[in-house]
Symmetry: C2
Subunit: 109 residues, 2 copies
DNA sequence: GCAACATATTACCGTACGGTAATATGTGAG
DNA sequence: CTCACATATTACCGTACGGTAATATGTTGC
């Protein structure tokens, strides 16, 4: 019986799937074809398979529009899956994240 | 050329490795034997192999003490590896984490 | 030095995974 | 209705992965 966390981390394990998520996070909504354009080394059906994987893990939602399918991140599901794990490790990443934010705003340490 | 993120998420992909990290996060420092006790279904050398994987990903550090080896989380490395990805997805998990914290403190929504 | 112990390393095995190619399904256009 | 298009599904392949068993390395205690 695979747990919520299992699905999440298994989905995140593959670099292609992570990049798909990145693209969806940046652009909000993309079709399979638009995503496939970003992966010249992969065949389109490969992307489709990865999207199925992300959908199975509940990280992504598809809505039909004409003959294409619009994918977007399932924000609630991603948040719910991630939060418990993040809470457990908060002491580890909190400081680094702060530092990263300061750096992005050009502040000095 | 595997990136920092690749190593991190690959290491986190396996439930056994995640549980090893959990145990180290809770108890601070553990020997291979102490860790192996927590996995009755696995042989000790299997744990050792997973620890090597975590060490290779830079998430864990070992120090020798007598004939045993003490493992602990490499807090800095974990933080540095995790922070950039977390920053990218902060809008997604921030609210859920807040909710989780409130819940833990018994607050009402 | 040697026996017992803790961990690491190697060799090996089955299976799951990521990839492609081929085929199927569903939809808009003419 | 039919053709072209967008995506999904299936079948198949090589490889990477997690696991065990066997062996090697290094350390303490006698």
């Amino acid at each position: 019986m695979p747990s919520q966390s299992d699905d999440l981390f298994r989905a995140l394990a593959d670099p292609t799937r992570r990049r798909i998520l990145d693209l969806l996070a940046e652009r909000g909504t993309l079709t399979v074809g638009q995503l496939a354009e970003q992966f010249p080394d992969l065949v389109a059906s490969g992307i489709s398979k990865h999207l199925m994987g992300l959908r199975a893990a509940g990280l992504v939602i598809a809505t039909r529009q004409g003959r294409q399918r619009l994918y977007r991140i399932d924000a609630d599901a991603l948040a719910e899956a991630l939060a418990p794990w993040l809470a457990k490790y908060e002491p580890y990443w909190a400081a680094a994240l702060e530092r990263l934010r300061d750096l992005a705003e050009g502040r000095e340490p």
